[in-house]
């Protein structure tokens, strides 16, 4: 009842090359194989959904890997995970604030009389970027 990579890709809505890439970078565990072909358990779809949500939320591959790497019983990686989670929560909050500001600019500029956005005094947000 295993799935070939093409079927997993179809169900998850991404490409086979992306699945192989996720495996290579450690986001997906290497599945069992039958004559070299990858055979997936359908549970992998759930993991992929989480991966995509994390990546879409702006997590890097490395962060997503840490996030997915389980809640190990050993103290150190667990603490590392908690640290990452706390950091990413703060980042998500910051990012949501920025998105809300951008939404408000877009919404309001439908009504704006200014010829250029930067002439609208109200859109001078307090510099609050994520460090590059």
């Amino acid at each position: 009842m295993g799935l070939l990579i093409g079927e997993v890709a179809r169900r998850a809505g991404l490409s086979t090359s992306a699945l192989r890439y996720y495996e290579k970078v450690g986001l997906l565990p290497p599945p069992t194989r039958v004559s070299k072909r990858r055979i997936y358990d359908s549970k992998v779809i759930g993991r992929i959904r989480i991966i995509l949500l994390a990546l879409d939320a702006g997590f890097t591959v490395k962060e997503t890997r840490t996030f997915l790497s389980g809640y190990p019983l050993s103290t150190t990686p667990a603490e590392r995970w908690r640290a990452l989670a706390a950091k990413k929560l703060a980042e998500l909050d910051a990012q949501m604030t920025r998105l809300a500001q951008m939404k408000s600019i877009l919404n309001d500029s439908f009504q704006c009389r200014c010829m250029r956005i930067e002439d609208c005094e109200k859109y001078m947000p307090p510099s609050n970027r994520t460090a590059q």
Copy 2:
């Protein structure tokens, strides 16, 4: 009373190379020059803030350029701008939803008993990605 590129970079919190790059890709207008050196009006800081907010919100350089390119009196570019704004508003909504989901996963997983996130049945979000 003009600003040299280094001072603009310092005030805006980015690099001089980024400023030259923004000019090259049309996000910033070419400033006046004195003996080849760029001399900026301090109003450019406001424009840079908007640029950074847009880029941070996930706009591409091209989208940001369209967004900043004014509200031309000619009908066609204005309509193009409105179309972009409407599209990006929808994208921002979608992205905010994803961020909220991710936040909720992060928040909850501090309490979770599962050894792996994908074992928590509650985190099987309905696939709602932005197309690749």
